[in-house]
Symmetry: C2
Subunit: 204 residues, 2 copies
DNA sequence: GCATGATTTAACCAATTGGTTAAATTTGCT
DNA sequence: AGCAAATTTAACCAATTGGTTAAATCATGC
């Protein structure tokens, strides 16, 4: 995810991202981040004065990375169903490459929502345009009538939840077989698309 | 959730449940649990020798509570669609009463899956009977053909995810208006049922 | 060569925290 | 009353951890 320019600051950001994402803000240790970056604790504090400052920097990058510009896809001149397929594809691509993101973000957002709120305000992330597109598609009869909020939550939940619950799914449904688990997650792409389409398509 | 028998041990379990669920294993403080139980730290360790022991006791109760016997509903003599509706109703009832459970369980399972695995093995929780019921319903043409694993994950995700992501949803979609947020969560009951039914019903 | 910033070393500090201990006090029971 | 268990008090310990500091060393460009 990080463009490893190999400067010390980038090495720190890369290492910190890895450690923070895996262990969370509270579980991460400054010493471990320093080790992962191949430097020592003093230098780590020399670059980022405090753990909070370092975490904020990482969390900001991760949030803006994990809330991609789905908006553009939805604005295109396409049948709504195609837009939904594209959006799901884009998002599952991202999640398959970064499966730890959901667990990390959910954990941190529940620990201290205010940090997340500030970021969303700064990046000016809004749902209204997405709702707008959905309303218009409903008016054209391209999808069943429903509250856009629910549709967004349903689609995001179907995409994101399995990653946040991966250990549970892997153990309960696949006896911890890593290949079966991996196959399941790759199937999700088609599965979610078909499931959502069947759920939103009007009965002609 | 706890049957407050008012004995000291129950007071501890009640307080510990509250603190653990809100702050997680790592964020919880033994002193805070003692305070919440109206006792002191020495007595807390007198009843439960260590934080780990206390946490295991709470986590075990919570997991067996949050993985309810949906199996019984699915075994009944009913059209499959009705069973699904009942299962969703039962589960969303539980979640609306205990909205912190998803965030807590997901956090702890990602922190240390082994504890969860042992519990699942001890309680002998299996998905096969549920898969069986689904397969039979598919054979009878009562629902579309799909892998049962995906159907279970889809339904659980649609129910659970919004609770784990509540702060995000409340802020991004409802501008943190608590009443609008609450209304949205209560709507989920009908919304999820209709969404799932549309997605799994065969086109006659 | 020299000045400046980057980096290391290593010791240190203060706060937090899980856990212990021992003695005193209270409570409940017979 | 008297015994045992429950509970409090209060001090203490050891480990962890975020953060600091000061001096030494290294790298680099002017």
């Amino acid at each position: 995810m990080n463009a490893a320019k190999d400067t010390t600051e980038d090495k720190i950001l890369e290492a910190a991202t890895q450690v923070f994402v895996q262990k969370g803000m509270e579980g991460a240790r400054m010493q471990e981040i320093a080790d992962a970056a191949g430097i020592n604790k003093a230098l780590l504090h020399y670059y980022f004065r405090s753990k909070d400052k370092l975490f904020d920097a990482i969390f900001s990058k991760i949030v803006s990375f994990a809330f991609p510009k789905i908006g553009q896809i939805l604005q295109a001149e396409l049948p709504f169903v195609d837009k939904v397929e594209q959006a799901i594809d884009t998002y599952l691509d991202l999640l398959l490459k970064h499966p730890y993101l959901p667990g990390f973000i959910l954990k941190e957002v529940n620990r201290d929502p205010s940090v997340f709120f500030k970021l969303v305000m700064k990046h000016g992330f809004k749902l209204e345009p997405i709702f707008q597109v959905m309303q218009e598609a409903m008016d054209r009869g391209e999808l069943i009538r429903m509250k856009p909020e629910h549709l967004v939550v349903n689609v995001v939940g179907l995409c994101v939840f399995p990653f946040a619950a991966k250990p549970v799914i892997s153990f309960v449904a696949f006896n911890e077989d890593p290949e079966a688990t991996q196959a399941f997650f790759e199937e999700r792409r088609e599965e979610v698309k078909q499931f959502v389409i069947r759920a939103i398509q009007p009965i002609n």
